[in-house]
């Protein structure tokens, strides 16, 4: 039986497990560096990189999949191998992993204790007389020559009870057994550490399994839908998703507070079967999928609606007009006609003319054509910087007061059947870690004999701290039992 267990444990030695961790560490570091050095568009522009880097380097990158190293066969193989080794580690060593600090054996004999580095022995007689409790020369003499100064069994039980109580106050649990005229005992603390080790390893394995399930059966897709439009809901087209509203919530300082999509899920007949609001960090569940608010864009070529404030210069008169894309609008009751010709959400100037630096409404600007008796003229109106807006020859001053862009909401649709498994793994591993690292296992073993009390420290994590604690215990016993009572 023993031989069998040894063979099982030998299947995955600690050294081998460490080698596999080191290999995974090396592979992850290589992948980390490679994913920064190799452009992700390597495959699309392989010819270009081949000419720049040379055929050997390009071949190496292509064959090792270094443009996407974490989805390469070699990295996946290593991950799978790591999971297999972890599984075998747990399967062959679970007893040792889980129960090592749980089961504490009593000392077999006095020799097992006295050989330890941390060891002390008190003579009952000297201890109780208050004489510092050093090893009693008489006991030495008695041990050597067969003369014994016995403590009565009832008295011994009482004395041992006091020692046990003292250790108990320091967080130790005691197991003891009376053997003849002596009590052998073990005191232990932090015994949850081993089950914690087991839970942590199991948790990492479950996380790996959850990850594998997710990578094979899960999927994710980014859906970009214009406000008011509908699109098929991945992965099949039986259902569709309609974006009823998209709102960009801003603070008074123009900082983005949130972006919110109000969506409806429609069946094949176009009937709404579910609707809801999706915000960042607040996904919506629909038809077995999760829908996340991921991004948003602004249509760089058009706008939904603009409001322009005007004041006439030829006579007193102010007001505002609403401008829609492509259609001409009269400015109040004047003969001036205004048409929006171009919209840029993030206006910038370059030598080649105006352009939008991004799809975000950082500096919205509207180009308008103004037709009046003075002729046709074009110019830009700025929402956030009205002082820079064009002053037209037409007898009106114009100021852009509102410009609603056309938004596209970016929704991440995903399903991950491995998610519950992964979360279970995280819970197991977290519980395991807390037990592993916040339990401080220490084991003391001792024998309370008819003449003396011997205690040794047999297990600890930190030598320097344990030495201090062991010294404290020794002094506590000395002062506690030195007071007769």
């Amino acid at each position: 039986m023993n031989a069998k267990k040894t063979r099982g444990e030998g299947l995955i030695s600690h050294r081998f497990a460490v080698t596999v961790i080191a290999a995974l560490l090396g592979a992850s570091a290589v992948g980390w560096i490679a994913s920064e050095l190799v452009p992700p568009d390597f495959i699309e522009r392989e010819e270009l990189y081949r000419s720049v880097w040379g055929p050997r380097a390009a071949k190496l990158v292509a064959s090792l999949h270094l443009f996407d190293p974490f989805h390469s066969a070699w990295y996946r193989f290593l991950l799978a191998f790591f999971a297999l080794v972890l599984f075998l580690c747990i399967a062959t060593r679970w007893r040792r992993l889980a129960l090592r600090s749980w089961r504490v054996a009593l000392p077999a004999d006095a020799g097992e204790i006295s050989r330890r580095e941390h060891f002390f022995e008190f003579s009952w007689r000297l201890l109780l007389s208050g004489a510092e409790g050093a090893k009693d020369p008489l006991v030495h003499y008695g041990e050597s020559h067969g003369r014994r100064e016995l403590t009565e069994p009832a008295e011994l039980r009482r004395l041992f009870g006091r020692v046990a109580s003292l250790l108990g106050k320091r967080g130790y649990r005691i197991v003891s057994q009376t053997q003849g005229d002596a009590v052998s005992f073990a005191a232990y603390s932090g015994r949850w550490r081993s089950p914690g080790t087991m839970l942590f390893h199991l948790g990492i394995l479950v996380i790996t399994i959850g990850g594998v399930i997710g990578s094979f059966t899960g999927w994710r897709e980014l859906l970009s839908v214009r406000e008011g439009a509908a699109a098929p809901l991945p992965p099949d087209s039986a259902l569709s998703l309609r974006v009823d509203d998209f709102e960009l919530a801003l603070t008074g300082r123009g900082e983005i507070k949130d972006f919110i999509s109000t969506v409806s899920i429609l069946n094949e007949r176009g009937e709404t079967i579910q609707s809801g609001v999706i915000e960042v960090n607040r996904p919506m569940k629909a038809a077995g999928r999760r829908i996340y608010q991921s991004q948003y864009w602004v249509d760089e070529n058009t706008f939904a609606l603009a409001r322009i404030e005007y004041s006439r210069r030829d006579r007193i008169g102010t007001g505002s007009i609403v401008v829609m894309p492509g259609s001409g609008t009269a400015v109040g009751d004047s003969a001036v006609m205004l048409t929006a010709t171009r919209f840029l959400p993030d206006f910038r100037m370059s030598p080649r003319g105006p352009f939008s630096a991004s799809s975000f409404p950082t500096n919205p600007a509207l180009e308008v054509e103004v037709a009046s008796a003075a002729g046709k003229e074009r110019g830009w109106l700025f929402l956030l910087h009205p002082d820079f807006s064009k002053r037209f020859d037409a007898p009106v001053d114009l100021a852009l007061s509102r410009c609603d862009p056309v938004y596209y909401t970016g929704l991440e649709i995903s399903a991950n059947p491995g998610a519950p498994v992964l979360l279970l793994g995280i819970a197991l591993a977290t519980a395991g870690l807390l037990l592993m690292y916040f339990c401080n296992p220490r084991v003391l073993k001792g024998i309370a004999g008819s003449e003396s009390l011997s205690i040794a420290g047999v297990e600890y994590r930190w030598k320097a701290s344990f030495e201090r604690e062991f010294g404290d215990i020794r002094e506590a016993i000395r002062s506690e039992l030195g007071q007769r009572g």
Binding site: S28, W32, E36, E279, W462, A464
Partner: protein, 270 residues
């Protein structure tokens, strides 16, 4: 509250940490106890001002100071100072300040080079309680790793064997400090940086893991410390090797921490 008050606190704290470093170094060099006490006092005042600065920043921005690299660096430095004070209270070795205080000064110098604008509005992706769990635990764990590396450096400086004249702690004690700091940092890092980050990513982006440069850097760091602790449990990486390993771990942590400045990705918050 004046908007620049937090920076004033950090500025004074910076000079006091620097002063504490000079005093700790003098204490180690001339072995006068009063210098050590003065250094500790300067360090304590600096820590109090550092705490006041973080509190002021919290009040000004209306959210915990964790949302930018500048705020994160300051919080991480605070975690380092706190870890040092815990070690100081437990082991009574003022000389460790010789290593910890310059590290703090360095982190504060790095922080001073980063954009410092106090924004009241957290970007939408950061508006989650997972953000606070993730970033706080990551900062505390990195603080513990820095203390481990600091003790590792002293271990490497300390001569072998008993040396009654040495002001430096014994190698056994230093090894225990390294070991304890790693055993505090590792679970905090695993739970905070990896697990809480993964759960938050699932809520925010719909995926536990995206192989983003920062995520990959964290995985490399985690695998490294996993390897280190396994070797330590095996009885292999002890003593000098453990000290060197703790210092190497800090180097990987720094690369991982600063990675998003060079690499970008989903964690590109400056």
């Amino acid at each position: 509250m004046p908007t620049g008050l937090d920076r004033d606190f950090f500025w004074v704290a910076f000079w006091l940490y620097l002063g504490a470093f000079v005093l700790f170094s003098s204490h180690a060099a001339v072995r006068k106890r009063f210098l050590g006490i003065a250094a500790t006092a300067a360090f304590l005042v600096a820590f109090a001002l550092h705490t006041a600065g973080l509190t002021a920043r919290w009040i000004i921005t209306t959210h915990p100071p964790l949302s930018t690299m500048y705020e994160y660096a300051l919080t991480m430095a605070w975690a380092v100072a706190l870890s040092f004070l815990v070690v100081l209270a437990r082991f009574r070795r003022m000389v460790l300040g010789v290593i910890v205080s310059p590290v703090l000064v360095l982190v504060l110098v790095i922080a001073s080079l980063l954009p410092k604008e106090a924004s009241k509005q957290l970007m939408p992706a950061l508006q989650s309680y997972w953000f606070y769990i993730h970033v706080t635990l990551a900062a505390l764990s990195e603080g513990a790793f820095i203390v481990a590396a600091g003790a590792g450096i002293i271990y490497l400086i300390r001569r072998k064997g008993p040396d009654e004249r040495s002001f430096l702690p014994s190698r056994d004690l230093l090894e225990e400090i390294i070991s304890r700091a790693l055993r505090v940092g590792y679970p905090l890092f695993t739970i905070g940086a990896l697990f809480a980050g993964a759960i938050w990513a699932q809520y925010a982006w719909g995926s536990f893991w995206s192989w983003d440069p920062k995520e990959t850097g964290s995985l490399v760091l985690w695998l490294y410390y996993t390897l280190l602790l396994h070797q330590n449990v095996r009885g292999r990486w002890r003593g000098k090797t453990l000290a060197v390993a703790a210092v190497v771990g800090l180097v990987i942590a720094i690369i991982s921490f600063l990675g998003n400045l060079f690499f970008g990705g989903l964690h590109a918050y400056v």
